[in-house]
Amino acid sequence: MSRGGPHRDGGPGSAGPVTADGERRTRGWQDNLREYALDVRAGVRDGERGPLLVIAGLIVIWIVFQGLDDKFLSPRNLSNLSVDIVGTGLVAVGIVFVLLIREIDLSVGSVSGLAGAAFAVLNVNHGVPEWLAVIVAVAVGTAVGAFHGVFHAWLGVPAFVVTLAGLLIWNGLTLYLLGASGTINIDEEGLVASLTSHHFGDDLAAYAVAALGTAGYVLAARRRRSRHRAAGMPFRSEGEIWLRTGLLAVVAFAAAVTLNRFQGLPLALLIFLVVLVVSDYVLRRTRYGRRVFALGGGVEAARRAGIGVERVRVAMFMVSGTLAAVGGLFVASGLTSASPTTARAAGSGMLLINAIAAAVIGGTSLFGGRGSPWSVLLGVVVIQSIASGMGLLGVQDAVQFMITGGVLLAAVAADALSRRAQARRGRP
């Protein structure tokens, strides 16, 4: 359909200048094309550079710690690491949802502590069945998130203030709940304890997950490719798909072999992977996820497109509160207890900082609209590797704090720099 053409030529007395115009226009588009090609090259470099740098950094960290202590890369330590990342990792996935809409949730550490305490008090002190206590604890996290979301979205209080107040309120409530009983030990054979203690002893489990993950990836990628090709649209080349599949397979099976040399696939890791796959799918492939990204890219644009901005905001804080609570259950599971000491630690901000650092190191932006749940996997492995290595070496807490804070600062600085570089390229 070429509209424009006939009409342009039809205008009385306008034929001459417009023809000249047309030629100039063609040159203009060619310039655009060249400019654009440069942009794309830079964009791809930028998109791939971050994760590759982090992976390189992780390899360096592993080599250094392995050099300092040869137990670091042992199947036992790596298996424990794969369980220890899950509590922080789940909290960080919740943070990703909030960061994507360009907000922050500072309360997640306290909320995770609250969930652990709520579970322990209900189950141990009041004899509520475990499954029910788990549901209530998670629902508490959801409700707390909704509370923050409503204050922020409908009353217009900045999210960092609402959740900063929440940090103190929920930590206070946790200490209050635990105040009467002090430390509560949870059932070591129970459901919650098994979240972190259960391993699938059969070697087949880890291999099956690795194989399913790889096969799922390659099938989905090929299906999308064939749909694009059927519609005559470009997509990743066959070669690139196989390269990615190959890398994924190497990592997945190496992990499976390592885990099987200790106690097999940990249940915690399996749950974490399922949460990552599901949340990534929701964010990237659904209409709802598109709204989340839209909010991060421009609230006003989203509003004018008819998106219910307030509702999405509340929902994101609910997701963050829920995942903070689930993460809190994993933390309680790892400790098999809920105590005032751990509650104070949860309120001290260590978990919060680790979760934010995990999300940002992996490539989720503090400036909204850019990131993915998978970034958490990469980031939390880095964070937990540093923590685990320093633990093995017996580095004192004071130094660990400084190093963790420094890592967070480096990650957000890199995020800010990459954003500036993009802004420079983005608009002339």
Binding site: R3, H7, Y36, A37, D39, G306, G369
Partner: protein
């Protein structure tokens, strides 16, 4: 002109705190007509556009759609009537790609799962039909040039086959060729029966495509002209206030209401 105007505004008033952005503004546009909206910076042009598009509804005044009284309280209401808008700031999500922006708020999906292939296909078809050349519809709009972003915003507005198109200074970011391309486009959609309200500071653009010019000054109507008979000087003096046009559109109490 037997048909009622597709869109008619009467007595639109809007205040921001102490600023009277719009006072008793009237405006009409018919199918197949381009009405230019002229006025100095701060005259209230963008505010009027946002009233019509539901982004920030009027405090007082009525809106008639095809002769019937309607309420436009949210962007959704305007979309539902068939009003599409290209905002002065374009209102795009920089992090989303061209397809994502084109379909923002009206994605094609199957039970909530995005149909990216279909959206991309339609995006390409639309770009092709409008002879807009964006080399890759999968690049985030932040990476596009100002002219390309403008082109995407205009394509988006034309996507749902609207009846009324609001363009807020669409040529401000464009070069000469791109402007002429856009003006051609405006004439085309006008000839297909769309009603267009075009905000522009450029008298050349107005003379080229508009049928009538409505002038806003300090939030009030300050003249309504037929482009074929009015001179550029008349429009400019109306914009600057050198001539206070006693036009039927102006309501009588204006002078008292204005401090």
């Amino acid at each position: 002109m037997a048909h009622p105007p597709v869109l008619a505004l009467r007595g639109i008033t809007k205040r921001f705190g102490g600023v009277q952005a719009l006072v008793d503004v009237d405006l009409q546009v018919r199918a197949g007509e381009v009405v230019a909206l002229a006025g100095d910076n701060g005259a209230g042009k963008s505010t009027l556009i946002k009233v019509i598009s539901g982004v920030s509804p009027a405090d007082r005044g009525v809106i008639e759609w095809e002769g019937h009284l309607v309420q436009i309280k949210r962007p959704h209401d305007a979309h539902a009537l068939g009003i599409a808008t290209v905002y002065q700031d374009l209102a795009m999500c920089d992090n989303l790609d061209v397809v994502g922006n084109l379909f923002l708020g009206r994605e094609i999906d199957r039970v909530g799962i995005l149909d990216e292939v279909e959206m991309e296909r339609r995006a390409r078809d639309l770009m092709h039909a409008l002879s807009i050349r964006i080399p890759d519809v999968r690049v985030p709009v932040a990476a596009l040039s100002a002219g390309q972003r403008q082109a995407v915003a205009i394509s988006r507005s034309l996507m749902g086959a609207p009846k009324v198109l609001l363009l807020d200074e669409p040529t401000a970011a464009l070069g000469v060729e791109q402007t002429s391309h856009l003006l051609d486009l405006i004439e085309e959609v006008r000839d297909r029966g769309m009603a267009i309200i075009l905000i522009s500071h450029n008298m050349g653009d107005i003379k080229a495509v508009a049928d009538r010019v409505a002038v806003l000054r300090l939030g009030r109507n300050n003249g309504l002209f037929d482009v074929s008979t009015v001179t550029q000087e008349q429009i400019i003096s109306s914009v600057t206030g050198a001539a206070d046009n006693a036009v039927a559109h102006r309501s009588k109490g204006d002078e008292e209401a204005w401090p």
